[in-house]
Each structure stands twice: as C-alpha cells, then as structure tokens.
C-alpha cells in the first residue's frame, strides 16, 4: 500500500506502540481487500460491548490503556456503540457482577484512550450526523447502512479493532464503499406494497437484505411512494444490514445518491425483483405464534429515538403489563435523559416495563439473561432482532409496536 510520510512514521513505531499496531492492522485488512492507500476519516464509532470483546478483548484494550497518554489517545472524535450493561438495572435483569465488572474494566480502558462513551447505535439521530461525502470509520451495521444510504457518507463496516485503529490514526483502508465505483447499484427491487409502520419497514428491509446476498451488493429500491421518516429508514436499514450484511442501499427518489434510477445503476442491465404484499405476509408468517404465552417484549435493535419512546408511552396509555411478562424499552443515554426530563420514562415504567439506557438487548448477554429469567418467547417490533435472537435460545415473534404493547398487557402473543 502507498503510505504517506506520516503513515510510515506511525508504522515504524515513531508515534508509539498503539499507532504502530493500528497501522499494521489496517495494512493487513487493506491488502486483503486490495486497498491502494489509506483514506482520512473524520469520526470513528466502535462496537464496545463486553459480550463481543470478551476477556481477551478487554485485556487487549487494557494493554493499550497503560501506554503513555500521548501514544494512546485517539486523534479524531471517537464514540461507542451500546454497552452490555446498564449499571442501574443489571441485577434486575439477572446479569452477574462478573459481567458488570468486565464492562467497567472495558469502560475504564476506552476512556483512557480518549474515547467518548456515547453507548449508542443511533448516533446519527442523537450525536453528530455525518454529511454527504464524509469518510468515516463506523461500527454497528445499522449505523453504517443509515449513514451511507440516507446521509450519503462513506464508510465500510468497521468492527471494533478496525474502528479503534481508525481512531488512533485518523485513517482507514481505502476500499469498498470509500470508492465511488463500489456505490453503484447492483440489484434492482420494485416494491409493490407501501410499508405502514416501523415493523413493515423492517420486514421489507429484511427481505431485500436476504435477496441482496452479500456485503458487495448494492440494492436499488424503486416504488416507494410514501415519504419515510428517520425511524422508518433506521428499521429498514438495520434489518437489511442484519439479514444481508448489506452496507448501502439506494431508495429511488428518497436517498441522496438516487434522485432517479439511472443515476445509481444501469437498469437495463439488471434483472428486477418484485416485492409485494404476499412476500411481507410470508415473512411475518415465520414470526407469528399468536396465542403463545409471552415471556418478554423487547423494544431495541436499534435503540429507540425520542419519538419512539413517546409512542411507547402513548400506546401504554396508563395500562399495566401482565405480571408474567417482562417488557424492556432500550434507548441511548442522550434520549434517556430527554425522555426522563419530559416524563416519558416515568410513564413507561409505571406500566411495569423497564427502561434501559446505553445498552442493546442482543449485545447484553442475551443468552444468559434468557436462561436466568426463564425467557423463551420474545416479541418485538424489530425485524433485526428476530434475525439475531434465535441463536441465543429465544423463540422470536414479530409484530407492530401497538400489538407488542397490547400483547405485553395480555401476557400472550396477540
């Protein structure tokens, strides 16, 4: 790879061990993907939950955290994805002291590197939204697909180690979606049904993700006549990225790189796949299970925006959830503070639900929580979560926010 003088200096260890590790890591990854050089990035966002890091990852971070301050401090604004623990509630969730202890060690390590512990997967709604053409090193697939697609920023999926390398150097390997030529559409979808709520958007994203097939495919979606909200596209992108490992989509007439089909692809060279009401019906059919006793309702993945929090409170309408059903409402620390200030948190918690901040359900030792609490049947409005949580021993069901809340009150899947 072609390196600048500054990059060669970091690689030679002249700027400390942490930056030398970062350079070596990026060169390995860059060469794997035939990157010719590195590209400067303005922000990094890192997955930082200890269920992912494990003891080995925490020890790795701690090994950097003991380096001299000038050698270990990140060089660009660097923020974090959700943690695995909400320290106010972990005992109620039957997470263990060992989990909390490992989480605290990770936090201490990250803070020593100068990382801002924002603990959020909705940073584009709550921290600083990137601008079109801005090169980034973002982790969390939902964050990346939203920032690429809806905002027109440039980022690959950056796992924790690579995001950290980017934070330490201000650079990332120049491949994949940092290159304009890889942002052209490769698969064309004609949508013949209009999503009516967040869950529909998630289901549609999931179907497209499944059909897209791999990270290197770019879906172009035509036929959406309604104007989606930020939360609609949040669920749409998060599910697509989860089901398909897809980092970029173009929604014709809505997203900035796709004012029309011809701008983002050569439609005559692509076969068109249709998605209609029947496809959505089949998708939802996989996650039905009406009448089943309900163990836990989860609103998470992605964390809820302030508007979603407000809607949960409104739909609860002073009702109380069933004593044998838990309900978890998960948001970012920034939204939590606002929701608390506006009385939304209190309204939700009065129902018997738990409002959690700074974590995300599936990043929080979901397997252990399920076993400890006896949770099997899980209902959510997040298509992304249904894709993930089966591997953790849950039986997931999918429904709209309204049906989820009514089910929590009834104690069964409605």
């Amino acid at each position: 790879m072609l390196l600048t003088e500054e990059e060669q200096s970091m690689l030679a260890g002249e700027q400390g061990d942490a930056r030398q590790w970062a350079m070596n890591h990026m060169i390995q990854v860059g060469e794997f993907f035939d990157a010719e050089n590195l590209v400067g990035v303005s922000q990094a966002h890192m997955m930082a939950d200890t269920e992912s890091l494990g003891e080995a990852g925490v020890q790795f971070v701690e090994s950097l955290a003991i380096l001299p301050e000038q050698d270990r401090t990140v060089r660009i604004p660097m923020i974090t994805d959700p943690r695995g623990i909400d320290f106010r509630h972990y005992k109620s969730l039957k997470q263990t002291d060992d989990m909390a202890s490992l989480e605290q060690r990770a936090i201490n390590g990250f803070k020593a590197l100068g990382i801002l512990m924002t603990d959020t997967c909705i940073n584009y709604q709550t921290i600083t939204a990137p601008t079109r053409g801005e090169h980034l090193a973002f982790g969390d697939t939902g964050v990346v697909i939203y920032c690429n697609s809806v905002l027109g920023a440039f980022s690959n999926f950056e796992g924790g180690p690579s995001a950290l390398a980017a934070g330490l150097t201000g650079r990332t390997p120049n491949y994949g979606l940092h290159l304009q030529r890889n942002r052209q559409g490769t698969k064309l979808f004609n949508v013949e049904v209009q999503p009516e709520n967040l869950t529909d958007w998630g289901a549609l994203g999931a179907i497209i993700g499944q059909r897209a097939g791999s990270y290197w495919q770019v879906p172009v979606i035509n036929g959406i006549s309604v104007t989606p909200s930020s939360d609609d596209l949040k669920h749409f992108g998060a599910a697509m990225a989860s089901y398909g490992s897809t980092p970029l989509f173009h929604l014709v007439g809505h997203t900035p790189e796709a004012p029309d089909i011809e701008t983002v692809c050569l439609p005559e060279k692509l076969s068109t796949q249709s998605i209609g009401a029947k496809d959505l019906e089949i998708f939802f059919g996989q996650y039905g299970n009406t009448g089943d006793k309900l163990d836990v309702v989860v609103f998470s993945a992605p964390q809820l925006s302030l508007f979603e929090m407000s809607e949960v409170a409104s739909l609860l309408n002073n009702r109380t959830i069933h004593p044998d059903t838990a309900m978890l409402v998960v948001t970012s620390p920034a939204v939590y503070a606002d929701a608390t200030r506006f009385g939304i948190t209190e309204k939700i918690e009065r129902s018997g639900a738990m409002v959690l901040e700074g974590m995300c359900f599936y990043q929080s030792y979901a397997r252990e929580m399920g076993l400890a609490n006896g949770w099997r049947r899980l209902l959510t409005n997040s298509a992304k979560l249904t894709n993930i949580i089966g591997g953790y021993g849950y039986q997931p069901s999918l429904a709209s926010m309204k049906t989820c809340i009514n089910s929590a009150i009834a104690g069964e899947v409605l």
Partner: protein, 140 residues
C-alpha cells in the same frame, strides 16, 4: 500432498498455514447470530449446521452476514481455543477479515475455480496456505 490432491487458487488471505478437517455449508456465517461460542456449536435453529461443533475445523461457508461483533468475537474465540482452525468463504465481508487480522485466524476467500462450498465437502482434509493464496484438498 499426493497425486489426488486438488489445488484451489484464491485471493491472498490472512493468518498462518493450517491443515484440518472441513465442515462445509452453503449457508452464511455470523459469530454472533449463529454460534454458541461457549459450547463451540452452531446454535441458531435455522442454520444448516445447527448443533454441529465447529472448533478446530476448517469451516467453509458462503459469505458473512450481519454484524460488526464478529470482529471482536473471533479474537475472543481464538484466545479460548474455541475457534475454527480456518474460515473459507466465497466472499467475506470486512468484519470477518478485520477479526481474522486481530486474532491471526486463517481466512481466505475469492476462489478462482468457483463456489468453494461445492468444491470442498465436509470431512475432506484441507490445507490452507493464506500467504500464497492456495487451498489443498484431499477428498474424504
């Protein structure tokens, strides 16, 4: 190698030369979605390898799916000696490659001869040489 050894050409990979027994599926892969990483088995009921042990196997899959977490997780699995010996993909995503780089876990993708999940069968003895971009198969 013997006369019956099949040589596959792939893109230059990550990690060290390893040999082992293949576990193959045309399904996709995520460390977070699909695995019980404590027990070392595929745990998502819908996965084609559900219930099968992947530890110390040459795991051959179609592509990566989902999440960013696998980058940290591969390192954690390697440190606990509960990881596959190598991962082979038709096309991998950045996350798995980044995780392999941190963990020094052997990984290759982009095979010249076509679909690697059809070229290798479960039970085959496989040697992966990522530095040269070669995979050698002795059929079971």
């Amino acid at each position: 190698m013997t006369k019956s050894t099949i040589e596959l050409v792939c893109h230059k990979g990550i990690g060290k030369l390893v040999s082992g027994v293949a576990l193959v599926t045309s399904d996709n892969f995520s460390a977070r979605y699909d695995l019980d990483r404590i027990k070392g088995v595929f745990s998502r009921p819908q996965h084609a390898l559900y219930g099968q042990n992947y530890v110390e196997k040459i795991l051959v899959v179609n592509t990566a799916k989902g999440g960013v977490a696998s980058a940290w997780m591969l390192n954690e699995m390697v440190q606990r000696k509960m990881a596959p010996l190598a991962l082979l993909f038709n096309n991998v995503n950045p996350i798995l490659a980044q995780g392999a780089a941190l963990a020094n876990l052997t990984m290759c993708d982009r095979f010249d001869q076509g679909d690697v999940t059809q070229l290798i069968s479960t039970g085959d003895h496989v040697t992966v040489d990522p530095t040269r971009g070669r995979v050698y198969i002795n059929k079971a």
